[in-house]
């Protein structure tokens, strides 16, 4: 880690000013940034600590009117919210499976959304589009944890935020504060697929911060399902978050967002289409799971993500309607 200047502002406006004009990085729980700084992947001249800004922390609202979640809300605080647990289980479940209790006590919603990819080539200092001798190192190398969608391009990492999937499925927006003021965008619009070596995968500028996330009123059913290797803390291999608008038992419209398969949170449109107009049952959910992998082109080591994605999407859909058949065995 290189030496840096440390700023701990008490308002978001001051924080944004501190981030402007220098090579600065915002710090929340530190579970991502500190590792990157230790590994010299990121060496900011200034670190701006956001967690003392109480105005952008906390959960408010209710299921009927929607939620406002401050970006500096810790995952532990998010998980202790009754309304999140009862009305937004897709979000609660995804948050509950992040890290360890210690990490949940430190990590924040904003930090989770804005963490950098966990791709081991990126973390080894080769950048987001790692190339050597004109060849893509991910494609040539060990890509077991990498993307199966958008693999024609050079960005083969997977988007690292497991809260992005449920928030996008729930139709949430993110409010961003920068030197030019405030703007609100869909959470999905926080992410992009980098095309050039110096492109970021986040659409927000380095001198902007997410201040809050707004989740619309809860209607219908929502759920997340995550598959990971370890029972203890581990990154999801694949996770799906679904939000179903129901008419009786019939799906009027569906959002199906998959983590772990693409450089951005992946909207499985074919799965959404497959389940729309149907009652969610073992058969329709399996068909939607199968549809979810339409267009996938796995890399050399991650073909297993095809059957895994099918299963995970199927389970998220069934979980939304209370069918957790896999827990019976």
């Amino acid at each position: 880690m290189k030496a840096f200047e440390y700023v701990s502002p008490s308002s978001a406006e001051v924080a944004v000013k501190a981030l402007d004009g220098v090579d600065a990085a915002p710090l929340s729980g530190g579970t991502d940034l500190i590792s990157r700084m230790k590994d010299l992947v990121t060496s900011p001249k200034r670190v701006v600590y956001l967690k003392d800004i109480s105005a952008i922390a906390g959960v408010s609202g209710d299921a009927a009117s929607g939620l406002t979640i401050g970006a500096e809300t810790t995952l532990a605080a998010l998980l202790s919210s009754k309304v999140v647990k009862e009305s937004y289980p897709a979000l609660w479940q995804a948050a509950s499976e992040v890290g360890t209790p210690q990490i949940k006590n430190m990590a924040t919603v904003g930090g989770n959304l804005c963490q950098r990819p966990r791709c081991w080539y990126y973390r080894a200092g080769f950048g987001l589009l790692p190339t050597k001798d004109g060849k893509n190192m991910v494609r040539e190398g060990d890509n077991r944890y990498h993307a199966i969608f958008h693999t024609d391009g050079d960005a083969l990492f997977v988007s690292p935020s497991s809260l992005a999937a449920p928030l996008i499925a729930l139709g949430a927006t993110a409010t961003i504060l920068g030197p030019k003021g405030e703007r609100t965008i869909p959470v999905a619009s926080l992410y992009q697929i980098p095309k050039k070596a110096d492109d970021r995968e986040l659409t927000i500028a380095a001198n902007e911060i997410v201040t809050k996330v707004t989740v619309p009123a809860a209607k219908g059913k929502n759920a997340s399902y995550e598959a990971r290797q370890k029972a203890a803390h581990d990154w999801p291999l694949v996770m799906a978050s679904v939000n179903l608008d129901l008419d009786g038992n019939t799906v009027k419209s569906a959002s199906v967002i998959v983590y772990g398969v693409a450089p951005v949170p992946y909207r499985a449109e074919a799965a959404e289409k497959a389940i729309t107009g149907k009652a969610v049952n073992a058969e329709s959910a399996a068909a939607a799971g199968d549809a979810a992998v339409q267009g996938a082109k796995p890399l050399s080591d991650n073909g297993y993500k095809i059957p895994l994605t099918k299963s995970v999407v199927k389970r998220a859909l069934l979980a939304a309607v209370g069918n957790r058949y896999w827990e019976e065995g």
């Binding site: 598959a227 203890a232 581990d234 297993y304 895994l308």
Partner: protein, 734 residues
Amino acid sequence: MPTNWPENPKIIGTRVTRLDGMAKATGRAKYPSDSHPEGMLFGAMLYSPHAHARIKSLDFSAAEKLPGVKAVLPAGNIKAGSLVRFQGDDIAAVAAETEEQALDAIRAIKVEYEVLPHVATEEQARAEGAPEVFKGGGIVKNVRKGRSVTIGKPDDAFKGDDVVTIEASYSAPVITHVCLEPHGLTVRWTPEGKIEAWASTQAVGPTANELAGAFEIPITDVTVHTDVMGGGFGSKFGADIWGVTAAKLSKKAGGLPVRMFLDRAHEHMGGGNRPSAIAHVKLGATKEGKLIGMIAETSGTGGAGAGSAFPLPYVYAVPASSRTHSDIFVNGGNARAMRAPGHPQGCLVMEAAMDDLADKLGMDPLAFRLKNLKPTDMVEDGFSKPTVDRTPVYHDEVEIGAELIGWKNKWKPRGHVNGGSPIRHGLGMALHQWGGGGPPTNQVACTIFPDGAVEMKTATQDIGTGARTIFAIIAAEVLGLKVTDITSNIGNSTFPPGQPSGGSTTTPAMSPPALNAVTLARDELFTKLAPALAANPEDLSLADGQVLVKGVAKMAWKDACRKLGMQPISVVGKSSPGLASQHGGVAGCQFAEVTVDIETGVVRLKKIVAVQDTGLIIDKLTWETQVYGGVIGGLNYGLFEERIMDPTSGIMLNPDMELYKLAGASDIPEIVVHAYETPAMKARGVIGVGEPPTVSTAAAIGNAVANAIGVRVPHWPMSPKNVLDALASKEGKA
């Protein structure tokens, strides 16, 4: 001179809590990496970022000028022109006043590299047209092909109509030791020109020897302390290049203490590993299930210089076999001994093949195993003890283990389906063996002080064997005291010579001299006390803190010791035959119960049963916890661990504790430990337990997974990827 253990012990063999357990659990125990002597400098190593390179030039001048920097030195004999052969190979070292300054200085060292072609994986090393990075010494195209070892006529054995054969490939990756406390030491030079070091080592004596040798000073001028240490598993037998370099830095910095411990990434890259194992196996049996032959082509990599041997055939009676093993060399860190070197690999290859053949024969794999044990399996003890036949021991242990896992009721043939659930249940088992005796070359000093204090002292260390507690149990048993009345001082190289902790030798090597020392001390006490008690020395005995004359309590222990006046009793005990096994030779078996989610490939452990014999057990509690530790290490090998190398850059992709996966608390299932300690086993004397219980866990888990899903997962670990890939290949979708 005692030649046997007490016949009716009060403490030996009971469950005694470790004397230093509370200090370790609360953080009060100070590990070598916790030692911060006055004036200490922080050391840091510069290591190669490249898999293979020639150092064109090395310039320390900028680093030396940085604030706080006290010394900069090359590592070992590194100079311009030197080769580095793996990412993590040592280049230079710095000592500075703060850790940050040391790390800044490391980055300020200017190294020009000529990057050379590398081979980072076994596949890459063996590929057609691969760069020949490793040559000479019988190495051709990065491979040293071993001699074929043939017993009988294996080719003929497979002929005949009633032979049932399987032919299969299995593999397990390189894994690293992941010592929680990395390799390293803090070292200083005293004003008198002596070295004092606080080292995380499993061998204080050899570490002192290495330091004395490196500086050509007498061994009497070196003291190595290891009060406690945070894991070694076979990888910490000396000062290593890091310790020697730290001592050089200290010397250059006027003797100031230098702390040099590897960071986690360097620890993974350069701190040692267990070689990979790749096997192609043909195994055949008669239709009745009697093994007739095995042909095996195996290989593995131990990195840029070390071998990769493992035993095969393993445990069972294979009348005819041929086996050829090749060492593959790659630009990776070198293998070091790792908890039962070779055996976990040999076990998982053999036991996978045994299970696959049992399935093809339509036999219960438990019955198939018992049918193919050697008719007799005599183990020579090395002392005057009778030889032990291991075959009946295996029979007994398998019977006990089967009962504990519920084999009879729960085991169903491979791929059985219980209703429509994707969660499939499976049982698996595996047998193992190990040595575990101890050499008769060590000494323990026992001192009885006039105030009643008792000290046991020797230059061994506690790698996790509970050495302090073991000595206290033995002393308390002989002196009729409580375990907490005894002080065990270990982990100091200047104490009487003690055993390095490798090969499960510590307890068998150290218990006999401990018993000898305390017995001699007691006898001397009796001789001195007898006149005061108007008795003959042979009429005296000790129990419950009292001195007894002809069985009648006459004097409290402390009052008796006070009779010594100013002069403590101090004797040095040596080993004597009959108290411990010299060569060991233990059996053992493990059973695993798993669930496998066939839709996600996720494997969860439900239960592990470990049945183990290791002769006479001194502390049942410490013994059991060592078996737990072995099983937990083994289940990590079975489910999680893997060193992942990048073919393009030649670097390790997961040098951390995040994507290098290790079990967390919720990954640990119920573990049932059973000590097989019959009178015949006790008669063998003490045998170590550190290694055998880690050998067969991964094999048993692999077999349980195959049993659950109906298809062999040929590559360890049993990750969702490997499970789903195996299921896909079964469906022809590989």
